[in-house]
Protein backbone atom coordinates (compact mmCIF):
# COMPACT_ATOMS: atom_id res chain seq x y z
CA UNK A 1 0.00 0.00 0.00
CA UNK A 2 2.58 2.58 -0.97
CA UNK A 3 1.17 6.00 -1.04
CA UNK A 4 1.07 7.81 -4.37
CA UNK A 5 2.60 11.05 -3.17
CA UNK A 6 0.87 14.25 -4.11
CA UNK A 7 3.17 16.74 -5.71
CA UNK A 8 1.62 20.02 -4.64
CA UNK A 9 2.78 21.94 -1.59
CA UNK A 10 -0.71 21.95 -0.12
CA UNK A 11 -0.73 18.21 0.31
CA UNK A 12 2.47 17.85 2.33
CA UNK A 13 0.95 18.59 5.75
CA UNK A 14 -2.11 16.63 4.75
CA UNK A 15 -0.20 13.41 4.18
CA UNK A 16 1.13 13.55 7.72
CA UNK A 17 -2.40 13.61 9.03
CA UNK A 18 -4.16 11.12 6.82
CA UNK A 19 -3.42 8.47 4.23
CA UNK A 20 -5.78 7.97 1.32
CA UNK A 21 -6.08 4.52 -0.25
CA UNK A 22 -8.61 2.49 -2.25
CA UNK A 23 -11.28 1.06 0.02
CA UNK A 24 -11.46 -2.69 0.70
CA UNK A 25 -14.42 -4.84 1.55
CA UNK A 26 -13.41 -5.03 5.21
CA UNK A 27 -13.48 -1.22 5.39
CA UNK A 28 -17.17 -1.02 4.65
CA UNK A 29 -18.47 -1.30 8.24
CA UNK A 30 -16.32 1.73 9.09
CA UNK A 31 -17.15 3.67 5.94
CA UNK A 32 -20.92 3.33 6.26
CA UNK A 33 -21.13 5.59 9.38
CA UNK A 34 -18.97 8.20 7.68
CA UNK A 35 -21.17 8.21 4.60
CA UNK A 36 -24.25 8.51 6.83
CA UNK A 37 -22.73 11.46 8.66
CA UNK A 38 -22.37 13.21 5.33
CA UNK A 39 -25.95 12.46 4.34
CA UNK A 40 -27.20 13.75 7.71
CA UNK A 41 -25.16 16.88 7.17
CA UNK A 42 -26.86 17.27 3.78
CA UNK A 43 -30.20 16.93 5.52
CA UNK A 44 -29.29 20.02 7.55
CA UNK A 45 -29.23 22.04 4.35
CA UNK A 46 -32.50 21.00 2.83
CA UNK A 47 -35.59 19.02 3.89
CA UNK A 48 -35.68 17.52 0.40
CA UNK A 49 -32.51 15.70 1.42
CA UNK A 50 -34.16 13.96 4.34
CA UNK A 51 -32.29 10.78 5.18
CA UNK A 52 -34.50 7.70 4.90
CA UNK A 53 -34.96 5.18 7.69
CA UNK A 54 -33.13 2.36 5.91
CA UNK A 55 -30.24 4.58 4.81
CA UNK A 56 -27.72 2.48 6.71
CA UNK A 57 -28.53 -0.75 4.83
CA UNK A 58 -28.68 1.16 1.58
CA UNK A 59 -25.28 2.70 2.27
CA UNK A 60 -23.79 -0.77 2.71
CA UNK A 61 -25.28 -1.89 -0.61
CA UNK A 62 -24.16 1.26 -2.43
CA UNK A 63 -20.59 0.89 -1.20
CA UNK A 64 -20.53 -2.80 -2.16
CA UNK A 65 -21.67 -1.85 -5.65
CA UNK A 66 -18.94 0.78 -5.81
CA UNK A 67 -16.34 -1.88 -5.05
CA UNK A 68 -17.61 -3.98 -7.97
CA UNK A 69 -17.83 -1.13 -10.47
CA UNK A 70 -14.61 -0.41 -12.39
CA UNK A 71 -15.87 3.09 -13.18
CA UNK A 72 -16.16 3.93 -9.48
CA UNK A 73 -13.59 5.37 -7.19
CA UNK A 74 -14.07 4.50 -3.54
CA UNK A 75 -11.34 5.74 -1.23
CA UNK A 76 -10.80 5.38 2.48
CA UNK A 77 -8.87 7.97 4.51
CA UNK A 78 -6.83 6.47 7.31
CA UNK A 79 -5.63 8.45 10.27
CA UNK A 80 -1.91 8.53 10.96
CA UNK A 81 0.13 8.62 14.15
CA UNK A 82 -1.98 7.69 17.16
CA UNK A 83 -4.96 7.22 14.86
CA UNK A 84 -3.07 4.86 12.54
CA UNK A 85 -5.49 2.50 10.87
CA UNK A 86 -8.59 4.37 12.02
CA UNK A 87 -10.83 5.31 9.11
CA UNK A 88 -11.53 9.02 9.30
CA UNK A 89 -12.85 9.84 5.86
CA UNK A 90 -14.47 8.57 2.68
CA UNK A 91 -14.48 9.62 -0.95
CA UNK A 92 -16.94 8.32 -3.54
CA UNK A 93 -16.58 9.25 -7.17
CA UNK A 94 -17.46 7.77 -10.54
CA UNK A 95 -16.88 8.25 -14.24
CA UNK A 96 -19.92 8.99 -16.43
CA UNK A 97 -20.33 9.25 -20.17
CA UNK A 98 -21.28 12.65 -21.62
CA UNK A 99 -23.02 11.61 -24.84
CA UNK A 100 -23.57 15.18 -26.09
CA UNK A 101 -20.64 17.17 -24.81
CA UNK A 102 -16.92 17.18 -24.79
CA UNK A 103 -14.87 16.19 -22.92
CA UNK A 104 -16.73 12.91 -23.32
CA UNK A 105 -16.04 11.50 -19.89
CA UNK A 106 -16.90 13.23 -16.66
CA UNK A 107 -15.45 12.33 -13.29
CA UNK A 108 -18.12 13.06 -10.69
CA UNK A 109 -17.20 13.51 -7.05
CA UNK A 110 -20.30 12.21 -5.30
CA UNK A 111 -19.34 12.25 -1.65
CA UNK A 112 -16.42 13.56 0.34
CA UNK A 113 -16.51 13.35 4.10
CA UNK A 114 -13.81 13.78 6.71
CA UNK A 115 -14.28 13.69 10.46
CA UNK A 116 -14.07 17.25 11.81
CA UNK A 117 -10.75 16.71 13.58
CA UNK A 118 -9.01 15.84 10.29
CA UNK A 119 -10.23 18.83 8.30
CA UNK A 120 -8.14 21.82 7.29
CA UNK A 121 -4.36 21.79 6.96
CA UNK A 122 -4.85 21.18 3.26
CA UNK A 123 -6.47 17.80 3.82
CA UNK A 124 -9.51 18.62 1.67
CA UNK A 125 -7.23 19.79 -1.11
CA UNK A 126 -5.24 16.55 -0.89
CA UNK A 127 -8.42 14.49 -1.11
CA UNK A 128 -9.56 16.45 -4.13
CA UNK A 129 -6.21 16.09 -5.92
CA UNK A 130 -5.97 12.39 -5.28
CA UNK A 131 -9.53 11.77 -6.39
CA UNK A 132 -9.10 13.90 -9.49
CA UNK A 133 -5.97 11.98 -10.42
CA UNK A 134 -7.78 8.65 -10.16
CA UNK A 135 -10.70 9.94 -12.22
CA UNK A 136 -8.29 11.15 -14.88
CA UNK A 137 -6.71 7.67 -14.96
CA UNK A 138 -10.17 6.35 -15.84
CA UNK A 139 -10.38 8.72 -18.80
CA UNK A 140 -12.26 11.67 -17.31
CA UNK A 141 -11.59 14.95 -19.09
CA UNK A 142 -13.68 17.05 -16.75
CA UNK A 143 -14.28 16.76 -13.04
CA UNK A 144 -17.51 17.79 -11.33
CA UNK A 145 -18.74 17.76 -7.76
CA UNK A 146 -22.23 17.22 -6.38
CA UNK A 147 -23.34 18.80 -3.14
CA UNK A 148 -26.43 20.53 -1.74
CA UNK A 149 -26.99 23.98 -3.21
CA UNK A 150 -27.22 25.47 0.28
CA UNK A 151 -23.82 24.10 1.29
CA UNK A 152 -21.88 27.32 0.96
CA UNK A 153 -18.82 25.85 2.62
CA UNK A 154 -18.54 23.28 -0.17
CA UNK A 155 -19.31 25.90 -2.80
CA UNK A 156 -16.47 28.07 -1.52
CA UNK A 157 -14.10 25.11 -1.30
CA UNK A 158 -14.63 24.17 -4.94
CA UNK A 159 -14.77 27.76 -6.20
CA UNK A 160 -11.33 28.40 -4.71
CA UNK A 161 -10.03 25.45 -6.70
CA UNK A 162 -11.37 26.61 -10.04
CA UNK A 163 -14.79 24.95 -10.06
CA UNK A 164 -17.89 26.82 -11.17
CA UNK A 165 -21.56 25.83 -11.43
CA UNK A 166 -22.52 24.41 -14.83
CA UNK A 167 -25.82 22.60 -14.24
CA UNK A 168 -28.50 23.37 -11.70
CA UNK A 169 -30.75 20.73 -10.18
CA UNK A 170 -34.12 22.15 -9.20
CA UNK A 171 -36.63 20.11 -7.26
CA UNK A 172 -40.14 20.02 -5.91
CA UNK A 173 -41.94 17.21 -4.12
CA UNK A 174 -44.86 15.39 -5.69
Amino acid sequence: MTHPGGSSAASHGAEDRIRLRPARREDLPHLVPLLLRLKRLNEEFDPLLKVRADAEERAQAVLEADLENPQSVLLAAEGSGADHGKLVGIVRATVRERPFYTPEKEGVILDIYLLPLYRRHGVGEYLLEETTRRLAERGAGIVTAEFPTQNEIAARFYAKRGFRPITALHARTL
Partner: protein, 468 residues
Amino acid sequence: MGDVARSSPPDAVDPSSAEAEANQTVELGRRAVRLARFYHGKFETVPSVPVRSLEDFAVWYTPGIAAVSEEIRQEPELSFDLTGRWNTIAIVTDGSRVLGLGDIGPEAAMPVMEGKALLFRTLGGVNAVPLPLAVSSPEELVETVLHLAPAFGGINLEDIASPKCFHILEELARRLPIPVWHDDQLGTAAATVAGLLNALKLTDRSLGEVRTVLLGAGAANLVTARLLVALGHDPHRLTVVDHKGILDADREDLDELMLRNRWKYKLALQTLGGGRRGSLSDALVDADVLVAASTPDPNTVKPEMVRSMRARPIVFALANPVPEIWPTTAREAGAAIVATGRGDFPNQVNNSLVFPAVFRGVLDARASRIPDEIVLAAAKELARHAAERGLTPEHLLPTMEEREVFPFVAAAVATEAVRLGIARRKLSHEEFLAQARERMSRPAALSKALTDAGLIHPMPDEPREGVE
Protein backbone atom coordinates in the same frame (compact mmCIF):
# COMPACT_ATOMS: atom_id res chain seq x y z
CA MET B 1 -31.67 43.49 60.94
CA GLY B 2 -30.26 42.45 57.61
CA ASP B 3 -26.96 41.38 59.16
CA VAL B 4 -28.60 38.80 61.37
CA ALA B 5 -30.48 37.40 58.43
CA ARG B 6 -27.26 37.21 56.45
CA SER B 7 -25.23 35.52 59.15
CA SER B 8 -27.59 32.58 59.40
CA PRO B 9 -26.55 29.92 56.88
CA PRO B 10 -27.95 31.49 53.74
CA ASP B 11 -27.92 28.41 51.61
CA ALA B 12 -29.50 25.86 53.88
CA VAL B 13 -32.21 25.61 51.31
CA ASP B 14 -34.76 22.92 51.83
CA PRO B 15 -37.92 22.56 49.75
CA SER B 16 -39.93 24.80 52.07
CA SER B 17 -37.54 27.72 51.78
CA ALA B 18 -37.26 27.15 48.01
CA GLU B 19 -41.00 27.64 48.07
CA ALA B 20 -40.54 30.78 50.15
CA GLU B 21 -38.08 31.93 47.52
CA ALA B 22 -40.64 31.35 44.78
CA ASN B 23 -43.29 33.21 46.76
CA GLN B 24 -40.93 36.11 47.20
CA THR B 25 -40.30 36.24 43.46
CA VAL B 26 -44.03 36.33 42.81
CA GLU B 27 -44.44 39.15 45.34
CA LEU B 28 -41.59 41.15 43.77
CA GLY B 29 -43.25 40.66 40.41
CA ARG B 30 -46.56 42.02 41.70
CA ARG B 31 -44.79 45.02 43.14
CA ALA B 32 -42.87 45.66 39.89
CA VAL B 33 -46.16 45.71 37.97
CA ARG B 34 -47.78 48.07 40.51
CA LEU B 35 -44.81 50.45 40.34
CA ALA B 36 -44.66 50.28 36.55
CA ARG B 37 -48.33 51.35 36.52
CA PHE B 38 -47.50 54.21 38.89
CA TYR B 39 -44.33 55.55 37.26
CA HIS B 40 -45.09 54.70 33.61
CA GLY B 41 -41.54 53.78 32.72
CA LYS B 42 -38.22 54.48 34.37
CA PHE B 43 -36.86 57.36 32.33
CA GLU B 44 -37.50 60.80 31.00
CA THR B 45 -35.04 62.96 29.10
CA VAL B 46 -33.69 65.73 31.28
CA PRO B 47 -31.62 68.57 29.76
CA SER B 48 -28.09 69.07 31.03
CA VAL B 49 -27.96 72.74 30.00
CA PRO B 50 -29.75 75.76 31.47
CA VAL B 51 -32.96 76.72 29.67
CA ARG B 52 -34.11 80.00 31.20
CA SER B 53 -36.30 81.25 28.42
CA LEU B 54 -37.10 80.49 24.84
CA GLU B 55 -34.34 82.87 23.83
CA ASP B 56 -31.77 80.34 24.95
CA PHE B 57 -32.93 78.17 22.09
CA ALA B 58 -31.22 80.56 19.74
CA VAL B 59 -28.00 78.79 20.77
CA TRP B 60 -29.33 75.37 21.79
CA TYR B 61 -31.20 75.27 18.54
CA THR B 62 -31.46 77.36 15.41
CA PRO B 63 -29.93 79.64 14.29
CA GLY B 64 -26.85 79.24 16.52
CA ILE B 65 -26.69 75.48 16.43
CA ALA B 66 -25.98 75.40 12.69
CA ALA B 67 -22.41 76.43 13.43
CA VAL B 68 -21.98 73.40 15.67
CA SER B 69 -23.28 71.17 12.92
CA GLU B 70 -20.87 72.78 10.52
CA GLU B 71 -17.93 71.95 12.78
CA ILE B 72 -18.99 68.32 13.01
CA ARG B 73 -19.54 68.15 9.26
CA GLN B 74 -15.93 69.16 8.78
CA GLU B 75 -14.65 66.84 11.45
CA PRO B 76 -17.14 64.05 12.28
CA GLU B 77 -15.08 62.95 15.30
CA LEU B 78 -16.26 66.17 16.97
CA SER B 79 -19.68 64.59 17.39
CA PHE B 80 -18.13 63.04 20.50
CA ASP B 81 -17.16 66.48 21.87
CA LEU B 82 -20.00 68.73 20.84
CA THR B 83 -22.96 66.44 21.49
CA GLY B 84 -23.89 63.89 24.13
CA ARG B 85 -22.65 61.05 21.93
CA TRP B 86 -19.54 60.53 24.09
CA ASN B 87 -21.63 59.28 26.97
CA THR B 88 -24.62 57.72 25.23
CA ILE B 89 -25.06 54.08 24.33
CA ALA B 90 -27.90 52.05 22.87
CA ILE B 91 -29.21 48.96 24.61
CA VAL B 92 -30.21 46.85 21.66
CA THR B 93 -32.25 43.68 21.78
CA ASP B 94 -34.51 41.68 19.51
CA GLY B 95 -36.21 40.22 22.57
CA SER B 96 -35.19 36.71 21.56
CA ARG B 97 -33.84 35.55 24.93
CA VAL B 98 -35.03 37.82 27.69
CA LEU B 99 -34.05 36.75 31.22
CA GLY B 100 -35.54 33.31 31.80
CA LEU B 101 -38.59 34.27 29.75
CA GLY B 102 -37.25 33.26 26.33
CA ASP B 103 -38.33 34.78 23.03
CA ILE B 104 -40.88 37.36 24.18
CA GLY B 105 -40.40 39.95 21.45
CA PRO B 106 -39.22 43.56 21.50
CA GLU B 107 -42.20 45.23 23.19
CA ALA B 108 -42.14 42.86 26.14
CA ALA B 109 -38.37 43.24 26.38
CA MET B 110 -38.68 46.98 26.95
CA PRO B 111 -39.13 46.97 30.76
CA VAL B 112 -36.02 44.83 31.08
CA MET B 113 -34.04 47.15 28.81
CA GLU B 114 -35.23 50.13 30.86
CA GLY B 115 -34.00 48.37 33.98
CA LYS B 116 -30.66 47.73 32.34
CA ALA B 117 -30.46 51.38 31.32
CA LEU B 118 -31.11 52.33 34.94
CA LEU B 119 -28.16 50.16 36.01
CA PHE B 120 -25.92 51.71 33.36
CA ARG B 121 -26.92 55.14 34.55
CA THR B 122 -26.78 54.47 38.29
CA LEU B 123 -23.59 52.42 38.40
CA GLY B 124 -21.69 53.68 35.38
CA GLY B 125 -22.94 57.22 34.84
CA VAL B 126 -23.69 56.19 31.25
CA ASN B 127 -26.72 57.46 29.36
CA ALA B 128 -28.24 54.30 27.95
CA VAL B 129 -31.16 54.34 25.53
CA PRO B 130 -33.30 51.19 25.51
CA LEU B 131 -33.86 50.14 21.90
CA PRO B 132 -35.78 46.91 21.43
CA LEU B 133 -35.91 46.26 17.70
CA ALA B 134 -38.59 44.56 15.62
CA VAL B 135 -36.27 42.64 13.33
CA SER B 136 -36.72 39.28 11.69
CA SER B 137 -33.13 38.16 11.19
CA PRO B 138 -29.65 38.68 12.63
CA GLU B 139 -28.64 40.46 9.42
CA GLU B 140 -31.52 42.90 9.80
CA LEU B 141 -30.50 43.59 13.38
CA VAL B 142 -26.91 44.25 12.29
CA GLU B 143 -28.02 46.59 9.50
CA THR B 144 -30.34 48.48 11.82
CA VAL B 145 -27.66 49.04 14.43
CA LEU B 146 -25.24 50.22 11.73
CA HIS B 147 -27.84 52.83 10.73
CA LEU B 148 -28.35 53.93 14.33
CA ALA B 149 -24.68 54.20 15.23
CA PRO B 150 -24.13 57.91 14.47
CA ALA B 151 -26.14 58.81 17.57
CA PHE B 152 -24.18 56.59 19.93
CA GLY B 153 -20.78 56.25 21.54
CA GLY B 154 -21.24 52.54 22.12
CA ILE B 155 -23.63 49.63 21.67
CA ASN B 156 -24.73 47.20 24.34
CA LEU B 157 -26.38 44.09 22.94
CA GLU B 158 -28.78 42.51 25.36
CA ASP B 159 -30.78 39.33 25.70
CA ILE B 160 -30.17 38.00 22.20
CA ALA B 161 -30.32 34.24 21.73
CA SER B 162 -27.18 32.13 21.27
CA PRO B 163 -25.60 31.41 18.83
CA LYS B 164 -26.86 34.31 16.72
CA CYS B 165 -25.55 36.69 19.41
CA PHE B 166 -22.00 35.64 18.44
CA HIS B 167 -22.54 36.43 14.79
CA ILE B 168 -24.19 39.78 15.61
CA LEU B 169 -21.44 40.84 18.01
CA GLU B 170 -18.68 39.85 15.58
CA GLU B 171 -20.28 41.65 12.65
CA LEU B 172 -21.02 44.85 14.56
CA ALA B 173 -17.61 44.92 16.24
CA ARG B 174 -16.01 44.49 12.83
CA ARG B 175 -18.07 47.16 11.09
CA LEU B 176 -18.51 49.85 13.74
CA PRO B 177 -15.87 52.32 14.94
CA ILE B 178 -17.42 52.37 18.44
CA PRO B 179 -17.31 49.72 21.16
CA VAL B 180 -19.87 46.91 21.00
CA TRP B 181 -20.53 44.63 23.94
CA HIS B 182 -22.81 41.69 24.58
CA ASP B 183 -23.24 41.32 28.29
CA ASP B 184 -24.47 37.74 28.28
CA GLN B 185 -21.21 36.75 26.62
CA LEU B 186 -18.60 39.16 27.88
CA GLY B 187 -19.97 40.49 31.15
CA THR B 188 -20.77 37.13 32.64
CA ALA B 189 -17.51 35.62 31.40
CA ALA B 190 -15.46 38.51 32.83
CA ALA B 191 -17.09 38.19 36.26
CA THR B 192 -16.62 34.41 36.14
CA VAL B 193 -12.94 34.70 35.25
CA ALA B 194 -12.40 37.30 38.00
CA GLY B 195 -13.89 34.93 40.56
CA LEU B 196 -11.93 31.97 39.20
CA LEU B 197 -8.60 33.78 39.36
CA ASN B 198 -9.14 34.39 43.06
CA ALA B 199 -10.49 30.90 43.69
CA LEU B 200 -7.34 29.45 42.14
CA LYS B 201 -5.19 31.73 44.26
CA LEU B 202 -7.03 30.72 47.43
CA THR B 203 -6.56 27.02 46.73
CA ASP B 204 -2.93 27.36 45.55
CA ARG B 205 -3.60 26.34 42.00
CA SER B 206 -2.20 27.74 38.80
CA LEU B 207 -4.27 28.17 35.69
CA GLY B 208 -1.68 26.32 33.61
CA GLU B 209 -2.17 23.10 35.58
CA VAL B 210 -5.84 22.84 36.41
CA ARG B 211 -8.43 20.62 34.82
CA THR B 212 -11.65 22.57 34.28
CA VAL B 213 -15.14 21.45 33.35
CA LEU B 214 -17.53 23.94 31.77
CA LEU B 215 -21.12 22.77 32.03
CA GLY B 216 -23.30 24.52 29.47
CA ALA B 217 -22.09 25.77 26.10
CA GLY B 218 -24.11 28.95 25.80
CA ALA B 219 -23.03 32.55 25.36
CA ALA B 220 -21.25 32.90 28.71
CA ASN B 221 -19.32 29.64 28.85
CA LEU B 222 -18.12 29.80 25.25
CA VAL B 223 -16.49 33.12 26.09
CA THR B 224 -15.29 31.93 29.50
CA ALA B 225 -13.49 29.12 27.68
CA ARG B 226 -11.92 31.57 25.25
CA LEU B 227 -10.75 33.85 28.07
CA LEU B 228 -9.36 30.99 30.14
CA VAL B 229 -7.32 29.74 27.20
CA ALA B 230 -6.12 33.29 26.54
CA LEU B 231 -4.92 33.41 30.15
CA GLY B 232 -2.94 30.20 29.73
CA HIS B 233 -5.37 27.39 30.52
CA ASP B 234 -4.38 24.27 28.60
CA PRO B 235 -7.26 23.67 26.16
CA HIS B 236 -6.69 19.94 26.43
CA ARG B 237 -7.48 20.14 30.13
CA LEU B 238 -10.74 21.92 29.41
CA THR B 239 -13.85 19.79 29.10
CA VAL B 240 -17.04 21.39 27.83
CA VAL B 241 -20.25 19.53 28.61
CA ASP B 242 -23.67 20.33 27.21
CA HIS B 243 -27.03 18.56 27.36
CA LYS B 244 -25.70 15.85 25.04
CA GLY B 245 -22.63 15.18 27.17
CA ILE B 246 -18.96 15.95 26.68
CA LEU B 247 -18.25 18.06 23.63
CA ASP B 248 -15.58 16.00 21.89
CA ALA B 249 -14.39 16.02 18.30
CA ASP B 250 -16.16 12.80 17.34
CA ARG B 251 -19.62 13.77 18.38
CA GLU B 252 -22.36 13.07 15.83
CA ASP B 253 -23.73 16.62 15.95
CA LEU B 254 -20.41 18.28 15.16
CA ASP B 255 -21.21 18.82 11.48
CA GLU B 256 -24.44 20.52 12.41
CA LEU B 257 -22.47 22.71 14.82
CA MET B 258 -20.03 23.61 12.09
CA LEU B 259 -22.97 25.11 10.21
CA ARG B 260 -25.04 26.53 13.04
CA ASN B 261 -22.58 27.35 15.81
CA ARG B 262 -19.03 27.58 14.58
CA TRP B 263 -17.88 29.01 17.93
CA LYS B 264 -18.92 25.83 19.72
CA TYR B 265 -17.56 23.75 16.83
CA LYS B 266 -14.15 25.40 17.12
CA LEU B 267 -14.14 24.87 20.86
CA ALA B 268 -14.84 21.16 20.35
CA LEU B 269 -11.83 20.85 18.05
CA GLN B 270 -9.68 22.98 20.32
CA THR B 271 -10.44 21.11 23.55
CA LEU B 272 -11.09 17.60 22.16
CA GLY B 273 -13.29 17.07 25.20
CA GLY B 274 -10.26 17.63 27.43
CA GLY B 275 -9.36 14.03 26.65
CA ARG B 276 -12.66 12.75 28.05
CA ARG B 277 -15.71 11.04 26.61
CA GLY B 278 -19.16 10.57 28.05
CA SER B 279 -21.26 12.51 30.50
CA LEU B 280 -20.84 15.20 33.12
CA SER B 281 -19.91 12.52 35.67
CA ASP B 282 -17.09 11.33 33.45
CA ALA B 283 -15.91 14.89 32.92
CA LEU B 284 -15.75 15.76 36.61
CA VAL B 285 -13.55 12.90 37.82
CA ASP B 286 -10.31 14.51 39.03
CA ALA B 287 -11.31 17.96 37.80
CA ASP B 288 -10.18 20.98 39.82
CA VAL B 289 -12.82 23.43 38.67
CA LEU B 290 -16.45 23.28 37.61
CA VAL B 291 -18.10 26.29 36.00
CA ALA B 292 -21.77 25.51 35.47
CA ALA B 293 -23.82 27.99 33.45
CA SER B 294 -26.62 25.71 32.35
CA THR B 295 -30.05 24.87 33.73
CA PRO B 296 -31.70 26.30 36.85
CA ASP B 297 -32.11 22.95 38.57
CA PRO B 298 -30.33 22.21 41.87
CA ASN B 299 -30.02 18.53 40.94
CA THR B 300 -28.02 19.14 37.79
CA VAL B 301 -24.72 18.59 39.62
CA LYS B 302 -24.91 15.72 42.09
CA PRO B 303 -22.91 15.62 45.35
CA GLU B 304 -21.14 12.44 44.25
CA MET B 305 -19.92 14.27 41.15
CA VAL B 306 -18.34 16.94 43.36
CA ARG B 307 -16.84 14.18 45.52
CA SER B 308 -15.22 12.66 42.43
CA MET B 309 -13.34 15.91 41.74
CA ARG B 310 -9.81 16.60 43.02
CA ALA B 311 -9.41 17.55 46.66
CA ARG B 312 -10.74 21.02 47.56
CA PRO B 313 -12.50 21.60 44.24
CA ILE B 314 -13.87 24.91 43.02
CA VAL B 315 -17.55 24.91 42.09
CA PHE B 316 -19.22 27.80 40.31
CA ALA B 317 -22.95 27.06 39.90
CA LEU B 318 -24.16 30.10 38.02
CA ALA B 319 -27.64 29.27 36.72
CA ASN B 320 -30.30 31.76 37.81
CA PRO B 321 -32.50 31.86 39.73
CA VAL B 322 -31.57 28.40 41.01
CA PRO B 323 -27.96 27.15 40.92
CA GLU B 324 -27.07 23.73 39.47
CA ILE B 325 -26.24 22.57 43.00
CA TRP B 326 -27.06 24.31 46.28
CA PRO B 327 -23.92 25.77 47.88
CA THR B 328 -24.41 23.82 51.13
CA THR B 329 -24.70 20.57 49.21
CA ALA B 330 -21.58 21.38 47.22
CA ARG B 331 -19.60 22.22 50.35
CA GLU B 332 -20.78 19.10 52.15
CA ALA B 333 -19.50 17.16 49.17
CA GLY B 334 -16.09 18.74 49.61
CA ALA B 335 -16.14 21.91 47.55
CA ALA B 336 -13.60 24.37 48.96
CA ILE B 337 -15.11 27.34 47.19
CA VAL B 338 -18.62 27.83 45.86
CA ALA B 339 -19.91 30.73 43.82
CA THR B 340 -23.38 31.30 42.38
CA GLY B 341 -25.23 33.93 40.40
CA ARG B 342 -27.28 35.00 43.40
CA GLY B 343 -26.86 37.96 45.70
CA ASP B 344 -28.21 36.14 48.74
CA PHE B 345 -25.29 33.66 48.81
CA PRO B 346 -21.62 34.54 49.21
CA ASN B 347 -19.57 34.99 46.03
CA GLN B 348 -22.10 36.34 43.59
CA VAL B 349 -20.78 36.19 40.04
CA ASN B 350 -22.61 39.22 38.78
CA ASN B 351 -22.17 40.90 35.43
CA SER B 352 -23.32 44.17 37.01
CA LEU B 353 -19.83 44.23 38.51
CA VAL B 354 -18.50 44.51 34.98
CA PHE B 355 -20.59 46.25 32.37
CA PRO B 356 -21.09 49.71 33.94
CA ALA B 357 -17.36 50.07 34.58
CA VAL B 358 -16.35 48.65 31.20
CA PHE B 359 -18.53 51.17 29.39
CA ARG B 360 -17.35 54.00 31.65
CA GLY B 361 -13.80 53.03 30.71
CA VAL B 362 -14.23 52.57 26.96
CA LEU B 363 -16.34 55.72 26.66
CA ASP B 364 -13.83 57.80 28.62
CA ALA B 365 -10.98 56.50 26.47
CA ARG B 366 -13.15 56.63 23.34
CA ALA B 367 -12.03 53.15 22.50
CA SER B 368 -12.94 51.90 19.06
CA ARG B 369 -13.74 48.39 20.22
CA ILE B 370 -13.61 45.98 23.17
CA PRO B 371 -11.10 43.21 22.50
CA ASP B 372 -10.62 40.35 24.95
CA GLU B 373 -7.61 42.12 26.47
CA ILE B 374 -10.01 44.75 27.79
CA VAL B 375 -12.41 42.15 29.14
CA LEU B 376 -9.49 40.51 30.92
CA ALA B 377 -8.24 43.85 32.26
CA ALA B 378 -11.66 44.36 33.85
CA ALA B 379 -11.66 40.82 35.28
CA LYS B 380 -8.16 41.17 36.71
CA GLU B 381 -8.94 44.52 38.29
CA LEU B 382 -12.05 43.07 39.95
CA ALA B 383 -10.01 40.14 41.22
CA ARG B 384 -7.28 42.45 42.48
CA HIS B 385 -9.72 44.52 44.51
CA ALA B 386 -11.30 41.53 46.15
CA ALA B 387 -7.82 40.21 46.97
CA GLU B 388 -6.83 43.54 48.50
CA ARG B 389 -9.73 43.34 50.89
CA GLY B 390 -8.68 39.86 51.87
CA LEU B 391 -9.63 36.66 50.09
CA THR B 392 -11.69 34.07 51.91
CA PRO B 393 -13.80 31.23 50.53
CA GLU B 394 -16.77 33.55 51.12
CA HIS B 395 -15.17 36.65 49.59
CA LEU B 396 -13.88 35.99 46.10
CA LEU B 397 -15.29 39.01 44.36
CA PRO B 398 -16.27 42.53 45.29
CA THR B 399 -19.93 42.77 46.20
CA MET B 400 -22.31 45.28 44.65
CA GLU B 401 -22.01 47.29 47.87
CA GLU B 402 -18.31 47.88 47.22
CA ARG B 403 -19.05 50.69 44.80
CA GLU B 404 -15.59 52.22 45.16
CA VAL B 405 -14.31 49.40 42.93
CA PHE B 406 -16.19 50.58 39.83
CA PRO B 407 -14.04 53.63 38.99
CA PHE B 408 -10.92 51.48 39.35
CA VAL B 409 -12.27 48.94 36.87
CA ALA B 410 -13.22 51.78 34.52
CA ALA B 411 -9.73 53.26 34.76
CA ALA B 412 -8.11 49.86 34.20
CA VAL B 413 -10.25 49.39 31.09
CA ALA B 414 -9.46 52.86 29.73
CA THR B 415 -5.75 52.44 30.43
CA GLU B 416 -5.73 49.08 28.67
CA ALA B 417 -7.44 50.67 25.66
CA VAL B 418 -4.63 53.25 25.53
CA ARG B 419 -2.01 50.51 25.83
CA LEU B 420 -3.62 48.58 22.97
CA GLY B 421 -3.60 51.69 20.79
CA ILE B 422 -7.38 51.71 20.32
CA ALA B 423 -8.12 54.78 22.48
CA ARG B 424 -8.85 58.13 20.91
CA ARG B 425 -8.41 59.87 24.26
CA LYS B 426 -5.16 59.06 25.96
CA LEU B 427 -5.12 60.12 29.58
CA SER B 428 -3.11 58.78 32.47
CA HIS B 429 -4.52 56.15 34.80
CA GLU B 430 -4.96 58.79 37.51
CA GLU B 431 -6.85 61.06 35.15
CA PHE B 432 -9.11 58.27 33.97
CA LEU B 433 -9.75 57.29 37.58
CA ALA B 434 -10.65 60.82 38.65
CA GLN B 435 -12.90 61.25 35.64
CA ALA B 436 -14.64 57.93 36.24
CA ARG B 437 -15.22 58.77 39.89
CA GLU B 438 -16.78 62.07 38.99
CA ARG B 439 -18.93 60.70 36.20
CA MET B 440 -20.07 57.71 38.22
CA SER B 441 -21.10 59.79 41.19
CA ARG B 442 -23.19 62.30 39.26
CA PRO B 443 -26.32 60.17 38.81
CA ALA B 444 -26.72 59.59 42.55
CA ALA B 445 -26.35 63.30 43.28
CA LEU B 446 -28.83 64.17 40.57
CA SER B 447 -31.29 61.56 41.69
CA LYS B 448 -31.07 62.69 45.30
CA ALA B 449 -31.62 66.33 44.36
CA LEU B 450 -34.66 65.47 42.27
CA THR B 451 -36.09 63.18 44.93
CA ASP B 452 -35.48 65.71 47.70
CA ALA B 453 -37.21 68.36 45.64
CA GLY B 454 -40.18 66.04 45.19
CA LEU B 455 -39.64 65.95 41.43
CA ILE B 456 -39.18 62.20 41.57
CA HIS B 457 -42.06 60.65 43.47
CA PRO B 458 -41.22 58.49 46.47
CA MET B 459 -42.28 54.87 46.13
CA PRO B 460 -46.06 55.00 46.68
CA ASP B 461 -46.11 51.72 48.61
CA GLU B 462 -43.45 52.71 51.15
CA PRO B 463 -44.21 54.71 54.29
CA ARG B 464 -42.58 58.12 54.12
CA GLU B 465 -40.53 59.52 56.94
CA GLY B 466 -42.71 61.27 59.49
CA VAL B 467 -45.86 60.21 57.66
CA GLU B 468 -45.97 56.80 59.25
